[in-house]
């Protein structure tokens, strides 16, 4: 098997280059920017491309900041709060391995696994947000999220690992480097689409919003108000932003591009992915989890496996440099 040589050398992480505190602040700032941009794009898409609604995320956040935190009768306060706080924390942590500007905050030998782990921990967080308030709709929403998780998790893992396989590296910087000649989206279209759909699913957004569906009074988030709601909604937006950025690293060649600097290209591509996701995701009806599970296992799992197999064969034939 050809060794592209990217997996051996330890690349310099942001934390090593700048010191830990500035690097963490930079990642948090990037998270806020990505989350805000996603919220804006999403709101414009919801409101039928009304540009005025771009201000809505700011107005709403302000409202949540000064709103009373509501409670319910005998909630499981500890677990509820833990779940609420975990959502944005996991979102920011997942961004720690996304190479915006060519470097990641952390460099582990298995960035892809790290990203996947943050998303998997979200299962617990979301379920606790549903469990905590001791309310029927929230709990039903929590269970729906787990059911949906059964559907998207395996295809998502296969999609992630396909990119790692093509680059012969689990480091995101290594994966970006391996796409110098050809973006992975060309040889891994299925993995690309599945990755983005899974991102919508693990943030229960758009057609995968059943855990927060209108039929159960917005489910897991139905009992949240004030700063609690702000934190959870912001976490979801950051997660979607981080996933868009990750998609750029894995499939769209990272910051590669002519004339403009690497971070500029990186952000432009990320925003384009966000716009595409919002435009498509807000136009389709909900995919009910009970139907989607079947589709995921019967179609998506085999499809992503075939994709992985195909990439594996290309690797053996030396297609990738």
């Amino acid at each position: 098997m050809p060794d592209p040589g990217v997996s051996g050398a330890e690349p310099l992480s942001l934390a090593a280059a700048w010191g830990l505190v500035p690097a963490v602040l930079a990642v948090v700032a990037a998270a806020l920017v990505l989350g805000t941009v996603f919220a804006i794009v999403d709101n414009v898409a919801i409101n039928g491309a009304r540009v005025r609604s771009a201000a809505e995320p700011f107005r709403t956040s302000l409202r949540w900041l000064i709103q009373q935190r509501r409670t319910t009768l005998s909630p499981d306060r500890l677990l509820w709060r833990a779940g609420i706080v975990a959502v944005p924390v996991l979102a920011v942590l997942s961004l720690a391995v996304v190479p915006i500007g060519g470097r990641t905050l952390l460099t582990t030998s298995a960035d892809l696994v790290w990203f996947n782990a943050m998303e998997a921990l979200l299962w617990a967080a979301v379920w606790l947000v549903g469990w905590g308030p001791n309310a029927v709709h929230a709990l039903v929403g929590g269970y729906r999220f787990l059911a949906q998780g059964l559907a998207y998790e395996l295809p998502l893992m296969f999609a992630l690992i396909t990119a790692g396989l093509g680059a012969d590296s689990l480091r995101t910087t290594g994966i970006v480097a391996a796409q110098e000649n050809l973006w992975f989206v060309v040889t891994m279209p299925v993995a690309f689409v599945v990755f983005l759909a899974s991102a919508a699913a693990f943030t229960f957004w758009g057609p995968f919003a059943a855990p927060a569906g209108a039929d159960i009074a917005s489910g897991v988030i139905s009992e949240l108000s004030g700063v609690d709601r702000l934190v959870v909604q912001a976490g979801r937006a950051v997660f979607l932003g981080a996933a868009a950025a990750m998609a750029v690293a894995l499939f769209l060649g990272g910051g590669a591009g002519p004339w403009l600097g690497e971070p500029v290209w990186y952000l432009l591509k990320t925003f384009a992915v966000m716009a595409a996701v919002a435009a498509v995701g807000r136009r389709v009806p909900l995919l009910r989890p009970d139907r989607f599970v079947e589709f995921a296992w019967m179609v998506l799992v085999p499809a992503t496996l075939l994709q992985t197999l195909m990439v594996g064969l290309l690797v053996i034939w030396g297609f990738y440099p």
Binding site: R63, Q67, T72, V136, V140, L286
Partner: protein, 404 residues
Amino acid sequence: MDSRGWARALSPAEAGLLLTIGTLPAPLSEAADLLWSQMPQPRHRQAIDETGVGGQLDAAVAALSTPSAYEHHVVGPAAQLSQGSEASHRSDGGHHGGMHDHEENEEDADPAHELNHDHQNPVQHTGHDMGGHGMDHDGHATDEHDGHDAGGHEMDHSDHEMGGHGGHDMGGHAHMHHGGEVAGLAMAGTAPDRDGLQLDELKVALGPVLAGWPTGLVLKASMQGDVLTNVSLSWICGVEDDHHLRQDSRHRSTLLLVDALAQFALVAGWPHAARQARHARAALSSDDPDERRRGRRRARAVAQTIRRSPLLAWSVGGLGDDRGHAEEPDTRQACRTGDVLERVRALCTVVIGDDPSMETVPGVGPEDVEFLLEGAELAAARLIVASFMFETAPTVVHSGAGHA
């Protein structure tokens, strides 16, 4: 509301403004009070009447930014709130958008001080904490708070933690047991489920005011997991037509059809289509003939979108099929409507008007639908209810003050 960029709240926690339209009959005003008791501050409650709706909405939003929007808190930067963000409406556009129904919008705040004061004290304190457990929010039935809050509760507890409570483990008890008390509320009991297993059951109620739900309709059931059993569906009160609906019957039925499509799209998780349908509805109820023509065009467009969507068909097809149903009441044998998808497509076809054999969709009563809900999951039950056009309830008893 859409034209103001306001969103409808799906739960009281999300709401800031509660708008009620016209005079509410007693069961609905009780529901509105309960809803109000569960809304976080700052909040505002406003009754809208037929004169100067726009001005009243502006006033409601302005009120949100005043200190009176907070009852117990010292006011801080409340002024910033003025944009009020979203109003959430419950039935607003969606329903008989009009005056004499109650629509409950929820957003924030309120000067309507005097009004509130009555309930505020009682409700706020007891009510507040009782707040949101259970189904209530959407679902407060007039029926009992204890009833369902307790509800939410129980489920979890007996489910997971206290397996041993009351007849939990013993298969043999046919009826519900109370497994003990948590926070002063009875625990859920157990009952045989649809597969004959002994499972926890929780008494729930949906309605009478709920997003995407016919206002005034109440569903009471036991819930095991998210499966409904012992379902009863009934009107607790009817709603009066708004002035747009008090027109010739053909136009009236078009408006109701478009309302039904908007409601269905909301429940089916298709906010984009729901928004388009509400736009069409708003244009259709205009007095300007050009605007109405535009409304008809938009209504046809959204109906086409819904009728053609393969994703929707895949997602909701096969639910709530009323053919060959063992428990079907005899009265319904004659008018079978198929499954959720077929009913919704029939709605669309009538709106589009391209099939002369389909002039209208028959209205149904709760008793025609009830049997389909038995054993349905919560999501399916909501879709089934949303796929029918209900005959308006016999307008009731307490239909408030007459209108001009």
